[in-house]
Symmetry: C2
Subunit: 309 residues, 2 copies
């Protein structure tokens, strides 16, 4: 009766009286006791690498939206300062503390075993021996970005990649390579940044040294691209007249960059949303190997133009 069970046969008036009493007495069911009893919590966890990178904001938003729609509470934490965060959430989630965990981090130990105490799903990362992941089509996005430069007439195109240890970075690099090959072009210099402003900024020297004749750069993300823009400016290079820059992932602030940055957007909100749906709707034992098919889109701004010569 306290749970307002509709299967329970009782007069509507009685129901009302109970509800009234519950309200007046301020009765709050003890969730802890309930969780102990049922080994469920109506709560989902999400571990992201950090809160700085704005792409996670969108993923979280999508995940929260879907969780809310299903009456679940989503709690988020980052592994930025604590490599053991995934393990911590696994502990939190054991014995029904969490009904499921989404893992967006890429640490060595961030892939739970198959017999983990909580259902889990990796976000945009494949891992050796795991068959539970939801991917963005990073390769297609990088391919799209590279093709955009090629379509403008560029042939000498460099790539500022993400860190070697990130699996998604590898898929982007591979999309860049494929696009070049598809158009019969030799890949240009590939330099490793680390998805950060500083990484992109310090890579500027190497980029200019590696290929003086480079007219376009495909950058693995916005933060690196912003660093690159600042670096190029410092070297007296003009974007896009001297060199075109395009980055993967979009963000509103990219429109305020100098110059406004052309990007390729990815379905981040949908990834968060879909991840929660998959986590709740599938058997934790089943494999999930899914890539989000749509939502890759060119956002043209002012950092790309045909090569001058």
């Amino acid at each position: 009766m306290l749970n307002d069970d509709p299967a329970l046969r009782a007069r509507e008036e009685t129901r009302q009286r109970v509800r009234q009493a519950v309200k007046e007495l301020g009765y709050q069911p003890n969730r802890i006791a309930r969780s102990l009893r049922t080994a469920t919590s109506n709560t989902l966890g999400l571990v992201i690498p950090n809160f700085e990178n704005p792409i996670w904001a969108v993923v979280v938003d999508g995940a929260e939206t879907e969780a809310d729609a299903r009456g679940k509470t989503l709690i988020v934490a980052s592994a930025a300062r604590t490599p053991g965060r995934v393990q911590q959430f696994l502990d939190l989630g054991a014995h029904g503390g969490l009904d499921g965990i989404l893992i967006a981090t890429a640490g060595q130990t961030d892939t739970p075993p198959a017999d983990a105490p909580v259902p889990w799903l990796l976000l945009n990362r494949r891992a050796e021996g795991s068959r539970r992941y939801l991917l963005l089509d990073d390769e297609a996005a990088a391919h799209r970005a590279t093709t955009a430069l090629i379509d403008l007439g560029h042939t000498r195109i460099a790539h500022l990649s993400g860190p070697a240890h990130a699996e998604s970075a590898g898929r982007r690099t591979s999309g860049y390579r494929k696009a070049m090959a598809d158009h019969g072009l030799a890949p240009g210099p590939i330099l490793e940044a680390d998805y950060s402003f500083t990484g992109g900024n310090t890579a500027t020297d190497a980029l200019l040294a590696a290929g003086a004749e480079t007219t376009g750069v495909v950058v693995a993300n916005i933060a690196s691209a912003s660093g690159l823009l600042v670096g190029l400016r410092a070297h007296g290079k003009h974007v896009p007249d001297d060199i075109s820059v395009i980055a993967i992932h979009d963000h509103p602030l990219a429109g305020a960059f100098d110059p406004p940055l052309t990007t390729v957007s990815m379905p981040l909100f949908e990834m968060g949303r879909r991840a929660v749906a998959l986590l709740l709707d599938t058997d934790p034992q089943d494999a999930i190997e899914e890539t989000i098919p749509d939502g890759i889109e060119l956002i043209p701004r002012a950092s790309t133009a045909p090569p001058k010569a």
Copy 2:
């Protein structure tokens, strides 16, 4: 023994054997049962308005750092899509589900009653009838920003404020007013944006209409400032030659803006850190009315210069 209680007298060898057994059997204490028994959870909650605004990333970072240092788990959620998020966390926290809650949102119903089931603290918001808050010195930051323009020689300075319902926005506006008054200047036009890119962008028209002779603008935050920069560019106005722009709160990406945006940084990390410390170290019944004293700093970039005429 299982808790490795140091008060317990036992041979070191025995301790080792127990630890070994615990490890081998993979024993994990049931946190739920423990919470039910002790009405504590070693977990803290933080509710932020959204994940998009990058300032929250820094606050969360500070809070996570302090929580980690104290062996607590911090969980985060946003109220972006769900106005009832604070209530939801209050429910989560009742009966020891959370040891405390930090509230950074500013909704009408986001101030818990004094007899809330969980200790709580408001972040950068004073609320009618509450005496539990930790503030940034928004007034000082706005004063600093305004003074920076005045020091450059500006006298016709406008203010692009935050939304009227945000208490922090009011403190910034008041800092702007005071700085103007301190230098014997009449306040310029004050326009309300909503802390967003779009808000700043659409306010451009009104700003240019309100004061044609305006040579400087103090913007309440970076997102609005980025929208304003784009808007001014669209109107053919050159920053800083035609008009100087300075914003409150700093972010690395502001260095990539067109032009790089001069800002005043705030001690956001420290706010997160201090908030966790206060939440854990004070009696939940005691009043906390604290403002973080230091950490306000001018970050000079290229969007500010002396007025031309």
